[in-house]
């Protein structure tokens, strides 16, 4: 900046109003614009010399549009200062050429460095681009990367100054680490030290997960892991004296690390100071470090406060989980004579903290009583970190709040009084789902209307003002579903209340459904309305959360009744075309669920359930001789099968079989046992493994009466219950077509194993998406005789799940069946499954 300092000595500081400002130089901007940028204006009083001119120049620089900015005092006339701004536009980037990288990567280089056409080219831009690229390739192991940038001015008639830029990137060859050697280490072997270096590895063809490239930042972190390794072994003075990187001839490098181990130390006396609540003995039982043990600073820190495990068994958690929120623990080395370190663990216990106010904010839809009954931290209760963690988990599991956004906030901590306020901040998520579908399938148009409200309030259904848009907030579930096509109609209604009576977590649920199906003529595409099959069912259930053995257990009971009515409906499924069947059964189940945190994407815990469904053992009391019936049926069966039978004989035999079957199935007699277990483990951050095992068995009390043709298992496919005619259970086994692994009537026994690896893509409330890879195996069998848990059909595949609050779960799976489905000879191969609405 050039303010004719020679002419105006600095101390001649005088104020002048600005007379006129002129702009000169090679610029495409209007004069007024530039004056505006400078912040100077006509008539403004400025000091000459003074800081106004300086700040004007700074402002012009700040626009990043100009180069060579200078402000001159042109003249002083009538006591006004006439200024002149001289500057030149920065050259704009016209064309960019990138050499030395693949074509597909050029786009990335341009984006990362913001090298779009029209960008102002400054020195800074050139330097940062150069540095960025050099660093980027070094990170990928190209240690010898060189970047050159040339700019070429364009001389043509266009006024704006422009340049072409050439980026020459010479990545060189990828450098791998051939060897890492240590000197000066006696106590810890090279091998162990190399193992401690988590990201810097030497070449090893057998290792697949980590590459042997050299990244400086990771290397620095690894050096401190090396020191930690020594510290774990008692060498607490260990340090790295020098480390060198040697370029070998064969495009590899060697690392040489020179350490000084120092002397080994052992623990001396460990004294606890300040503890009144717990005895020294109790504390040292948790510390588990004795006098004479090799000194290990890392372990000591872990036993005092393990930052990697929030629920670890350490001293801090001992205090934090028992009310001592205000406690603090410090370890101090009091002496280190003869390489024996005496420690003092100084504990400030503070007052035990009790919760004062416990509140919830953000429940715009859910009523207080639903939320507060879930809280485990209550006013007047002793503070416990574990209870806070559990409350957050259980609020998430309600399904009404976004599990990722529940935050427990401590308010007003008062160490003097020993009180703390707690505020759980929640965010409601959409918990209603609407399903409106029209589709072509099964030989005709199928329309579906499904409504599912997961946070319904039945007591508000007559209150007009509660309709916003539906009465919500009592945690009840209401679902309605209508489905109709040309040949069948289904109506169902479900309701459940998780806390019946509001005093206990006893879930009451009920459902009513009715299905009407007409015989469909696939050739004429007409439904025969005179021939129909109706199913009407009603279920009542109570599920009670238990307190013993622990409160993750639920005991459930249900009674259900179904009536099947056949009206001249002869298909392969039933031997009697006119008749009925009743199914009255009692189901008892015991389940345990401690999965956490997000019900859509659990990352920990497990889920087990065992259920038994039983009917009354009618055959034991009704006096019917089922043995005789069975024999008679077999006789008739052989008439049917015999070539010598006449048509009349066949018809009679057929009719008699129908009568017998009607007798056998007038009241369904069966028992069914199901077991299911699944575990969730987070292997590394966010990567979750889910093993699952399932088993089911359907049996008869009276073998002469036989196993019923209802309630059977159908293994294979997506596992979605399509309209279920006969209480069948569809078991998911991907990689095979739906229900293809069971015989036409269904299996009476099945087992399934599955291993699924899940990784979340996003877990935002608006849409949760995760990808999964799975291997599965399972099969169904017609009797215990055939049952062989290892004779299974295997498959593997990949899939994606998307959960959106308004639509529920959507997904697609690509499974590959390695074995043959029933009726196939070779392996089945690929199969695509669409998953709609099935939770979990």
């Amino acid at each position: 900046f050039n303010l004719q300092a020679q002419d105006l000595p600095y101390n001649s500081n005088k104020k002048y109003p600005i007379g006129k400002i002129k702009v000169q130089g090679n610029t495409s901007f209007a004069e007024l614009t530039i004056i505006n940028f400078s912040g100077l204006r006509k008539g403004q009083e400025i000091n000459i010399p003074g800081e106004e001119i300086g700040s004007a120049i700074k402002k012009l620089w700040g626009t990043k549009l100009f180069n060579n900015i200078e402000i001159y005092l042109a003249k002083i006339q009538n006591d006004s200062a006439y200024l002149e701004i001289r500057l030149a536009d920065l050259p704009q980037l016209n064309d960019l050429k990138v050499n030395g990288v693949k074509k597909s990567k050029i786009e990335g280089v341009i984006k990362d460095n913001k090298l779009k056409k029209g960008t102002k080219v400054t020195e800074n831009l050139i330097t940062t681009t150069k540095n960025f690229l050099t660093r980027k390739y070094k990170k990928d192991g190209f240690l010898n990367t060189k970047v050159h940038i040339n700019t070429i001015d364009i001389k043509d008639s266009i006024k704006t100054s422009r340049v072409n830029m050439v980026l020459n990137i010479d990545k060189g060859t990828k450098v791998k680490i051939s060897d890492i050697t240590f000197t000066g280490n006696n106590a810890v072997s090279d091998k162990k030290l190399r193992k401690a270096m988590k990201s810097t590895k030497k070449i090893n063809r057998l290792r697949v997960l980590k590459r042997s490239k050299f990244i400086d930042s990771a290397y620095q972190a690894d050096l401190s892991s090396v020191i930690d390794k020594f510290k774990e072994n008692g060498y607490r003075d260990a340090r790295i004296i020098s480390d060198s990187l040697i370029y070998n001839d064969d495009k590899t490098i060697s690392l040489q690390i020179n350490v000084n181990e120092g002397d080994p130390y052992t623990f001396g006396d460990i004294k606890f100071i300040g503890n009144t609540v717990y005895t020294d003995r109790e504390l040292s039982n948790i510390l588990r470090i004795r006098k004479g043990d090799t000194y290990n600073g890392v372990l000591l820190q872990k036993r005092i406060a393990d930052n990697s495990k929030p629920d670890g068994n350490d001293l801090t958690n001992l205090y934090q989980n028992n009310g001592y929120l205000f406690s603090s623990i410090r370890q101090v080395e009091v002496s280190a004579d003869d390489n024996v370190i005496d420690m003092e663990i100084r504990i400030t216990e503070g007052k035990p903290a009790y919760f004062n106010n416990v509140s919830v904010v953000g429940n715009d839809k859910t009523n207080d009583h639903v939320v507060y009954r879930t809280l485990r931290t209550r006013p007047g209760g002793l503070y416990s970190k574990a209870l806070v963690v559990r409350t957050v988990r259980e609020l998430g599991q309600l399904g009404f709040f976004d599990a990722q956004e529940i935050s427990p906030d401590f308010k007003n901590p008062n160490p003097v009084e020993g009180t703390i306020d707690m505020e759980y901040s929640v965010k409601e998520t959409g918990s209603s789902q609407i399903e409106l579908q029209g589709g072509y399938g099964g030989g005709g148009f199928i329309g579906t209307l499904g409504l599912s409200f997961n946070n319904f309030s039945i007591k508000d259904i007559f209150k007009k003002e509660a309709y916003k848009p539906i009465p919500m907030g009592d945690g009840q579930r209401l679902a309605l579903r209508l489905q109709a096509s040309r040949f069948y109609q289904t109506y169902s209604f479900q309701f459940s209340e998780p806390w019946l009576g509001g005093k206990k977590p006893v879930q009451f649920s009920t459902s009513i459904s009715h299905t009407k199906q007409f015989l469909y003529d696939y050739i004429n595409r007409r439904a025969d309305k005179s021939r129909s099959f109706n199913i009407t069912g009603i279920t009542f259930g109570l599920a009670k959360r238990l307190t013993v053995p622990d409160d993750f257990f639920t005991l459930s009971n249900a009674i259900s009744y179904q009536r099947y009515d056949l009206n001249n409906y002869n298909t392969g499924l039933f031997t009697f075309g006119d008749g009925f069947s009743n199914n009255l059964s009692y189901t008892v189940g015991l389940s345990r669920d401690n999965t956490s945190v997000d019900p859509i994407f659990p990352t920990g815990g497990s889920k087990f359930s065992a259920t038994a469904e039983l009917s009354f053992p009618y055959s034991a009391v009704n006096g019917v001789d089922y043995t005789a019936l069975k024999e008679e049926r077999n006789e008739n069966q052989s008439i049917l099968g015999s070539v010598s039978s006449t048509d009349l004989e066949r018809t009679n035999a057929q009719n008699r079989i129908s009568e017998i079957d009607q007798e056998r199935y007038n009241w369904l007699e069966f028992y069914k046992v199901n077991f299911k277990g699944e575990w969730y483990t987070e292997i590394t951050k966010n990567l979750v493994l889910r093993p699952l095992i399932e088993f089911g068995f359907l049996g008869a009390y009276n073998n002469d009466r036989g196993v019923i043709p209802f309630e059977r298992f159908f293994v294979g496919g997506d596992g979605l219950g399509t309209y279920s005619l006969d209480g069948r259970e569809a078991i998911q086994l991907r990689g095979y077509p739906n229900q293809s692994l069971s015989t036409q009537d269904g299996g009476t026994i099945y087992n399934k194993y599955s291993l699924e690896l899940r990784y979340p893509i996003t877990l935002k409330a608006s849409a949760k998406i995760y990808g999964a890879a799975f291997v599965e195996a399972g099969n169904s069998y017609n009797s215990f005789k055939d049952f062989n848990p290892f004779n299974v059909k295997r498959s593997a595949g990949l899939g994606v799940r998307i959960f959106m609050p308004a639509f529920g779960l959507l997904g697609i799976d690509f499974g590959h069946g390695f074995d043959n489905a029933l009726g196939e000879t070779g392996k089945h191969g690929w199969e695509t499954h669409f998953i709609i609405g099935q939770q979990f």
Binding site: V277, Y278, N322, G323, P352, F355, N356, N357, V358, V360, V361, G362, N363, D364, K365, T366, N367, D368, H369, Y372, R373, T374, L375, R376, R378, P379, G380, G381, G473, G502, K503, K504, P505, R545, T547
Partner: protein
């Protein structure tokens, strides 16, 4: 094409004035949604002009009448700050505060809007202590206050209502009613709160075990302590509400407590 549609689509010379006129008459006719739509069109054009005052008032009113209280509260507030000399200032300020009141949800949900509304109405009362709307404003504040009271009361009550073994927690109930009595000293639910606190304390005390070992305090004679504390609750209740509807229950509790206390005094 109706007249309304014609005016709505009109543009050019005179259209703005025409729209204003029609918006005004639609407003007077009670056609809020239509008036709102047409007035909304011309709001930017009148910015800074003298007629804007009336326009903004009408526009805010249409939102209020359409029960779009989020926007009406904002629009009235804007009006009040833009035209502090308007004769409608008081009305607009009140309607702004009342819009907040309208947004307040049922007591059993998050009360963020309720607290905001109380603040706004209180602000109005402070600004216009002589206002004709004062009685209504006071009534609204009372109603909102009562919501907060009822919320705190219900939460506290639930702690003692739930079945044993689940979230029943008399300590939580006592503590919550303590907080309630402290936070709402003039509450109309005071009598009930005092009784509920006594009831919870009584049930906890008579069902207590004699001694409890605690880490912090060693062995505590917990039953005696609780009975004594409950006795104090009952005495203070009887002192304040001698003619309470709960009097019979309280007297009965008092009798049992005194008997229990006698046992301890003879023992020691």
């Amino acid at each position: 094409c109706s007249e309304y549609q014609k005016v709505l689509k009109a543009s050019g010379e005179g259209a703005t004035a025409q729209k204003f006129k029609m918006g005004d008459s639609l407003y007077n006719a009670g056609k809020w949604a239509k008036a709102n739509r047409i007035l909304g069109q011309i709001v930017p054009e009148y910015r800074g002009k003298p007629q804007a005052q009336k326009l903004m008032y009408l526009y805010a009113q249409t939102f209020y009448k359409m029960k779009d209280y989020y926007i009406s509260s904002y629009r009235f507030e804007q009006f009040a700050t833009s035209y502090p000399k308007s004769e409608k200032l008081e009305e607009a300020s009140f309607l702004s505060a009342k819009s907040y009141y309208m947004l307040s949800p049922v007591y059993s949900k998050d009360q963020k809007e309720t607290k905001e509304a109380i603040e706004k109405i209180q602000g109005f009362i402070n600004q216009f202590p002589e206002s004709e709307y004062l009685p209504e404003a006071n009534k609204l504040v009372q109603e909102l206050d009562f919501k907060l009271e009822k919320k705190a009361f219900s939460i506290a009550k639930q702690y003692s209502d739930i079945a044993p073994g689940f979230t029943r927690d008399y300590t939580a109930a006592i503590k919550s009613f303590d907080n309630f009595l402290y936070d709402f000293p003039g509450s109309s639910l005071r009598e009930d709160a005092l009784f509920q606190r006594l009831d919870a304390a009584y049930k906890q005390a008579v069902n207590s075990i004699e001694y409890k070992r605690s880490r912090a305090e060693g062995i505590v004679h917990i039953r005696k302590e609780r009975i004594e504390a409950t006795k104090e609750y009952s005495s203070s209740f009887l002192k304040t509400f001698a003619n309470s509807k709960y009097i019979e229950q309280v007297n009965e509790m008092n009798r049992v407590l005194e008997e229990e206390l006698k046992k301890y005094s003879t023992k020691s």
